[in-house]
Symmetry: C2
């Protein structure tokens, strides 16, 4: 049985944090994640898209109980002139949903199917990050159960 | 030996494609990746960050020899009124570099170290997407060998 998706993972304990408008030049990502690592913040997802006019947003996820620690580490680094950002947005009302599967690589339809399944339920995708064997999205936490169940059905997995 | 990073993967055959400014509402991601899947475009990375004022960019990577096919699929979908974007930017001069390791999860310092290593070589990070066991970045292709060697050294891996 060649199922491209072998499971759906989910977590409601992660917060999404975004540094709005950081400079797009070498050293900025290191200057952001160095202090977070030193402060013992357990970073999971990291998402950075292309820059426009030399600036871009940097988003990461971390446990909701580490948001204050992360904010302090970043604000301290900003006050010390090591990093600069126009805003720091923390969103603790998210859930991370991932479709996992070894066969994903050649099944670019998996992403389309996952996104279509969420869309059919009226669930907006806030953030996307993927690797060959896993597609992760952040959605509003209130939709977590609905999303997980809909994806189990769409990919014909055992009932959660 | 508890090495958080067990290997560095790289590929110069992937192109970065960005749909600039898509609407941030349910169904848009499905409307983008459905046509790409139908056209047989092998999507690898997908990156979407938070929206601002209801719009966001959608970036994905695909084999450089499928860029024309992807552009046609997206332009056809746009002409048919299924999706809307303000621009479509293809960049074939990139390389994908990934640090891979099972122990990453608890080592949020791995990201900081990887970004610092690239920054020390003056390499700008264009895009970032991560999952628990893998951190992937897109950089200018001309820096691929430099980046891979520097990361091998930083994480004390066998010479490439
Ligand atoms: C934005 C950030 O990734 C920057 N481009 C860097 O290389 O550090
Ligand atoms: C931008 C896109 O991801 C949109 N939010 C969707 O859910 O489809």
């Amino acid at each position: 049985e060649n199922r491209p998706v072998s499971g759906v993972a989910y977590s409601r304990d992660e917060a999404k944090m975004t540094l709005v408008s950081v400079a797009d030049r070498p050293g900025i990502a290191a200057a952001i994640f160095g202090p977070l690592s030193d402060a013992g913040v357990n970073v999971d997802m990291i998402i950075q898209n292309i820059a426009e006019e030399g600036r871009t947003d940097m988003t990461f996820s971390c446990p909701t109980d580490q948001v204050k620690r992360a904010e302090k580490a970043l604000n301290d680094a900003k006050d010390a002139g090591e990093i600069n950002y126009h805003g720091l947005v923390a969103d603790t009302a998210v859930a991370k949903i991932s479709a996992v599967g070894i066969g994903m690589r050649s099944q670019s339809g998996v992403a389309a199917k996952m996104f279509k399944t969420l869309s059919d339920e009226g669930i907006n995708i806030k953030v996307i990050a993927t690797s060959e064997i896993k597609i992760s999205v952040l959605v509003d936490r209130k939709y977590m159960e609905l999303a997980v169940q809909a994806l189990h059905d769409a990919f014909e997995l055992e009932k959660a």
